[in-house]
């Protein structure tokens, strides 16, 4: 038996805004968080999307949690906000019928950098830091803080890491394995990551311009989003607000260079076509990186001509788990009846594409699709429908 999966809580910690209501308002207004650095030490003219206010003391409860790293803290804060938003206590995912699915593209970058610098300089590792460097550190910390003892997993799918984790969690609910699942992802930005982008020439000179004809690069960002997923019937029975129904989907793969973007947009379009049926909004993966944007614009022009498209990485910055926030954008679109504009996009790079610009499109959204494109030919779409 397949159980319908409801999205009943949204937790967002983003450079754009934290908390779902301020995040929705900023999206709707078309604001962008891509701006001058405030936290990391990079040149003043740089563009980066940073989460500035993040206090461990306000979310960490356990003694072992005092050593929490920043990426894990982003995930934990988003998980707590999601439970609050769902009207559930923080131990609601505890017990054998609770699940946890998280993701991170790079994990705890800041402490990894410190550790490897010392290792290369002195030849020794720091035992206090090492336990935080495993990619599943966020999974460990969140499970400890929220008492999750049921099925849990950390997933990584490069640019589609957030979508991959959310779909793994949705499958647990759909299979009837758990009654509540927290699912999402977190990534942080560091000065070194920014410098790597700069030196490998993948940065936009100014603000990013996703899906714009003049797009020249992405804006590194950070943030976290976690969803509360429950069986639809259970959500209804407890009188929970249901943002949307999430359609479980394992995704698909296409031929592609191992380290790059697929070259055949038609294959992506063919894979997405059925998933786009009846969709009133597409939440794109485009970041302003020319190769990705060109591929996605062409694929969507084939598969979804005339459907409004929005690309939130122009607002929240680009990072491996930005897709988790893209799923939040889609849930808000379905629940709130609006497609937010794409900051930075003035002239769409493809004439067949209806990119929402300048002002939000207020209209009923019966279904929305997050495309979930990633390097290496993996596609992890997430379709949300009116409940």
């Amino acid at each position: 038996m397949i159980v319908d999966v409801a999205v009943t809580g949204l937790g967002v910690v983003s450079a754009l805004a934290s908390g779902v209501a301020p995040f929705a308002e900023a999206l709707r207004a078309g604001r962008s968080a891509c701006g001058p650095p405030r936290r990391i030490e990079v040149p003043a003219g740089a563009h980066v999307a940073e989460v500035v206010a993040l206090e461990a003391r306000s979310v960490v409860r356990s003694a072992v949690g005092r050593r929490i790293d920043r990426t894990s803290l982003l995930a934990l804060a988003a998980a707590c906000l999601a439970l609050d938003d769902a009207g559930l206590p923080h131990d609601a995912a505890g017990g054998p019928r609770g699940g946890l699915a998280l993701s991170s593209a790079f994990g705890n970058l800041s402490e990894t950098e410190t550790f490897v610098e010392r290792l290369l300089a002195r030849g020794t590792g720091n035992p206090l830091v090492f336990p935080n460097l495993v990619l599943n550190a966020p999974l460990g910390y969140v499970s400890i803080e929220l008492g999750v003892t049921g099925p849990s997993a950390m997933l990584n799918e490069q640019e589609a890491s957030g979508e991959a984790a959310i779909q793994w969690g949705a499958q647990l609910v759909a299979d009837g394995v758990v009654d509540v699942c927290l699912a999402g992802g977190a990534d942080e930005v560091t000065a070194m990551l920014w410098r790597i982008h700069q030196e490998t020439r993948t940065l936009a000179a100014g603000p990013p311009r996703p899906l714009d004809a003049a797009a020249r690069g992405a804006c590194p960002g950070e943030g976290a989003a976690v969803l509360v997923l429950e069986p639809l019937a259970r959500a209804r029975a407890r009188g929970a607000r249901v943002y949307a129904r999430l359609v479980p989907d394992p995704g698909f793969a296409v031929a592609a260079p191992v380290h790059g973007w697929p070259r055949d947009a038609e294959r992506i379009a063919a894979g997405l076509r059925a998933r786009l049926a009846g969709v009133d909004a597409v939440v794109a993966s485009a970041s302003g990186a020319p190769a990705l944007d060109a591929l996605e614009a062409e694929a969507l022009a084939y598969a979804a001509p005339g459907v409004p498209v929005t690309a939130p990485r122009g607002a929240i910055g680009d990072f491996g788990t930005a897709g988790a926030l893209a799923v939040v954008v889609a849930a808000l679109a379905v629940a709130g009846g609006f497609v937010p504009p794409t900051p930075g996009c003035r002239t769409p790079r493809h004439p067949g594409l209806d990119v929402v610009r300048s002002t939000a499109r207020e209209r009923p959204v019966r279904a929305a699709l997050v495309t979930g494109l990633a390097r290496g030919g993996i596609v992890r779409p997430v379709r949300l429908e009116e409940a």
Partner: protein, 404 residues
């Protein structure tokens, strides 16, 4: 959970470049832990279970520029995956819909460390993308998918040392629930300085080859490698005439929610995972014939693990052989779950129990447990468990059964 068939195996380990060399090394009770040669390390430990020669043929099917950029983890993964597909008799036309589930924890860190050193010393005046593209752990799945033409769904799990047991569990669930017909479950991790120095700094490494379950056990030995299993719908396998090597009867996944590195003192998560796996498999503790243990050789892990087995198996533990493959292959981290699943399938298939090597004096309190002394022995098996526990308390147990 409906059963899934295992129809292909692949492995690249310190015992050799394929399953045949692994099986031979296991049967001989050979310990593959030797001097660390891959990089310099100034700490207290200088040994590891290294894969001596990475198969050069592994990058066949990829453009030369891509092949040059493969990480150590990628090469291990691709060799094991290619062997498993060949073993299963999966021809290219049948491969297109195959799902790929990978467990990985270090990705291209070994290569990233080299790039980092070049940038620090000025050998590279700027970071070069070509030296960093292999870093993310998801790349190995892309390598396997693109090189072998496996274009079904793809996922990479990273729960430290239980990562690829989770990949096997995911494959079995996808097959058992009818979502997929064929899936490749894979675990891969190459050695790198970060993990080596980290475990050494934690004083978790034994300066001598690890001695799981021994009274004087003093930590783990790190290793590297990859293991791969083709997991398939039983009817699909029969219909295409594939040889069924073993069955995956069930899997259990649970968390300790206790500590970032230390296991729960009573093994709460490990116990839940074991019980959930038996439940899913519809198997009683009395039916278990063999346990391929997590068995790292650390004081804490082995104590918790024997305690969990005693809780579940009770007095029957005396009659259930328990062995640790890590005593021969070292701890291959994210690859361990898949490699040990391969070892368990071999044991079920051949009835040859792999031994726990380096074990001279078992912990006195466990004198009643049969840790399978060298050289192992022949004993018909029907049902076996393979357990994997990861940092952060992420535990997975698999229940495997003989095919016939």
């Amino acid at each position: 959970m409906p059963v899934a068939a295992v129809t292909g195996l692949g492995a690249v380990t310190a015992l050799g470049p394929d399953v045949a060399s692994l099986a031979a090394g296991l049967a001989e009770g050979r310990c593959a832990i030797g001097p660390l040669t891959l990089f310099e390390h100034g700490g207290r430990c200088r040994i590891a279970a290294e894969v001596p020669d990475l198969p050069a043929s592994a990058s066949r099917g990829l453009p030369p520029a891509t092949a040059r950029r493969l990480s150590r983890s990628d090469r291990l993964a691709l060799a094991a995956a290619a062997e498993a597909c060949r073993h299963a008799g999966l021809e290219p036309p049948e491969r297109a819909g195959v799902a790929v589930y990978v467990g990985a924890s270090v990705g291209g860190m070994h290569e990233a460390e080299a790039a980092w050193r070049r940038r620090r010393t000025g050998a590279d005046h700027r970071w070069r993308l070509s030296r960093l593209v292999a870093t993310p752990v998801a790349v190995s799945a892309a390598v396997v998918s693109q090189a072998l033409g496996l274009f079904g769904p793809r996922a990479t799990f990273s729960t430290a040392c239980s990562s690829s047991a989770l990949a096997v569990a995911e494959a079995a669930a996808a097959i058992g629930r009818g979502r997929m017909r064929v899936a490749l479950a894979l675990g891969t991790d190459g050695l790198c300085r970060l993990t080596y120095a980290g475990f050494d700094a934690l004083q978790a490494l034994d300066p001598a080859p690890c001695r799981p379950f021994a009274a004087d056990r003093a930590g783990l030995s790190l290793g590297e490698g990859a293991g791969a299993l083709v997991v398939e719908d039983l009817e699909h396998a029969r219909a295409r005439g594939a040889r069924i090597l073993a069955l995956v009867l069930g899997a259990g996944i649970a968390a300790d929610a206790h500590h970032p590195t230390a296991p729960h003192p009573e093994g709460a998560g490990a116990l839940r995972a074991l019980r959930a796996a038996l439940d899913a498999a519809g198997v009683t503790p009395e039916a278990v014939d063999y346990v391929n243990a997590h068995g790292t050789g650390t004081r804490q892990n082995d104590a918790v693990e024997v305690g969990v087995l005693r809780t579940v198996l009770g007095t029957r533990l005396r009659r259930v052989p328990v062995s640790s493959t890590k005593s021969q292959l070292g701890h291959t981290l994210a690859a361990a779950g898949a490699i040990e699943a391969v070892v368990t399938v071999l044991a079920l298939e051949t009835g040859l129990l792999p031994p726990t090597v380096n074990l001279r004096t078992p912990e006195p309190a466990w004198g009643d447990v049969d840790f399978v002394p060298v050289p192992g022995r022949r004993q018909p098996l029907r049902i076996a468990l393979s357990s994997s526990y990861g940092f952060g308390g992420h535990d997975v147990t698999l229940v495997l059964a003989r095919a016939h």
